[in-house]
């Protein structure tokens, strides 16, 4: 299929992908640095073309619950926000996971804690992959490193969300949201007809025909024994994701003695650091994580047997590094480097950290 070239911001690519992927509804609330998502949708007016609903809610609490409503009715619905707004959404996210609803949530992360800064950050890793809301649950978490991936992961997100009936988060950051790059877009995928919806999401509460029982969407079970069974089912689903849905990219790893582990913006910076390192004769590669949950435990375990050390590069005080250490099981040194609070590390700093903390260390 012919692909059309555009130049777009990451945030706009999310909106463009929503329209082109047959999204039924977007509900959001403005917050920097992701407001272009809703702005682009409002300019495009998809309700006049594809019939997609776009609504500015009164808060992130409300927008995530609108997503919950749309998802419960079997629709492809999404929202986007940035860190403080995503914190407000935690209630809705755990309800989505508990009620097993497919939905897409984009977090264009900014520096925290609190109101923090509007500059890029990766300090919401724990919140995204360790829960954030209450209860035992997981979201499928994708980490785009380019505008093209912002676009592509919306399509992938729907696939996973409906396959597993589970919320999917695209964990981006202010840099990927704001940068404009080349983007190849494909043709429009039509929204589901009601017939398709009823076939693809037979569990949905969208009106009970006479020939079936009423559908109930809820995350409540007052009977603890049943609730435990429900939890078993959720856990089995998450293990299946770990088995089947891990995505990563190994760059310059074939001969690598050292490995950067990074995702999103940090992965791009690490890639530049590889170039600088190799110019100095340091054999360094990059394991770029694409899914943060499921985490590529096996791959990191394998690398930990081969390399002299790993440097987890992330714009946080050290979050992903914990998972890297768990997977490496002390077979090789694993250290952390990252700037935070909205500061982005430079490739030189990253390489220096590798030399200081791993090679010399």
């Amino acid at each position: 299929m012919a692909k059309e070239l555009k130049l777009m911001k990451g945030n706009e690519a999310i909106a463009e992908a929503a329209i082109r992927s047959g999204c039924d509804g977007y509900f959001g609330y403005p917050i920097t640095p992701q407001s272009e998502v809703m702005e682009h949708l409002m300019i495009e007016k998809p309700w006049e073309t594809t019939g997609m609903v776009v609504l500015q809610a009164e808060s992130e609490t409300s927008s995530i619950n609108m997503v919950y409503g749309g998802a419960a009715a079997g629709k492809k619905v999404m929202t986007s926000s940035s860190s403080p707004g995503i914190s407000l959404m935690q209630e809705g996210l755990t309800y989505l996971a508990g009620a097993e609803l497919p939905a897409l949530v984009v977090n264009v992360v900014r520096g925290g804690p609190g109101l923090g800064t509007i500059q890029p950050s990766q300090a919401d890793y724990f919140q995204a992959v360790k829960g954030g809301g209450h209860g035992d649950y997981q979201m499928y978490v994708l980490a785009p490193a380019s505008v093209q991936e912002m676009y592509d992961f919306v399509f992938l997100g729907w696939e996973i969300a409906f396959k597993y009936r589970n919320p999917v988060m695209i964990l981006s950051d202010g840099a990927i949201g704001q940068v404009m790059e080349k983007l190849y877009v494909g043709p429009h995928i039509p929204r589901w007809t009601e017939e398709e919806l009823r076939k693809n999401a037979p569990w949905a509460s969208c009106g009970k025909p006479a020939d079936r029982d009423h559908n109930i969407i809820t995350s409540l079970d007052l009977d603890s024994a049943k609730q435990e069974l429900h939890n078993h089912k959720l856990q089995a689903k998450y293990r299946e994701m770990e088995e089947k849905e891990v995505l990563f990219e190994a760059i310059n790893c074939e001969d690598a003695e050292y490995i950067f582990v990074a995702y999103g913006s940090s992965a791009r910076i690490a890639q530049k650091a590889i170039q600088l390192g190799r110019e100095k004769g340091i054999k360094v590669g990059l394991l770029r994580l694409i899914t943060l949950f499921p985490f590529p435990k096996k791959q990191i375990a394998e690398f930990s047997k081969k390399v002299k050390g790993m440097l987890a590069v992330e714009m946080s005080a050290g979050q992903m590094v914990e998972d890297v250490r768990l997977a490496a099981e002390f077979r090789c040194p694993v250290e952390h480097f990252g700037r935070y609070g909205g500061i982005i590390h430079t490739p030189h700093e990253v390489l220096e950290a590798l030399e200081e903390k791993i090679i010399k260390g």
């Binding site: 609903v53 609108m66 629709k75 009620a99 509460s205």
Partner: protein, 259 residues
Amino acid sequence: MFNPDIIKPENLVYEKTNVLTDAIMHYCPGCGHGTTHRIVAEVIEEMGIQDKAICIAPVGCSVLAYNYFNVDAIGAAHGRAPAIATAVQRMFPDRHTFTYQGDGDLAAIGTAETIHACNRGENIVIIFINNGIYGMTGGQMAPTTLLGMKTATSPYGRTVELNGYPLQITELLAELPGTYYITRQSVHTAAAVRKTKKAIRQAFENQKNKKGTSLVEVVSNCNSGWKMTPVEANKWMVENMFVKYPIGDIKVDGEKVKK
């Protein structure tokens, strides 16, 4: 024991609507929820909209409403039902999405969702049960608890100094241009039930005609929470609740009713 000689169509005087399931309700005897459920279900049956009705259940005593209404249903997080109904109704404009909420759900934790759904004039029906207390969690103070009323969290009676005033949210919502029909009813007598059913019918008819938000408040008792017998509770409700929350239409056809 059933007597087959009596169970004959010609002897039938009342039949439970198919829009209620056969599940046994968990509500306390004398509570208004059961009656309100029944008349909502009857209206859905009479209008022939069972296949189009989608119930958004709250958190509160009626958290399990989805087990009783034989329609597709969605259980909401506490207070968020109007946001959920907003999305469902916007994506399925020919459906009859309705929320069923208590006073804590609608007028405390869900105030923002309630006000903004009403202000946008979402084409939804809101059934609002006001009994001035949190029943499910054990009788704590609600935003609509009357001054002086004793609850688990106002054990010496609600005071203005400590808790502020009872919230007349229904009157407040009537001020918003998005609301089309706002009425306050009750279900403590047969006559009141008939009037409430008429009001609920009106709300769903408005929705069918895409008029915007309709809200039916049902002032109810909570005999368990109020620690009274059902009969005493109804008497107390008429003498006290109806003073602060007077029965009658507040807004009809988008116009506020002149007192």
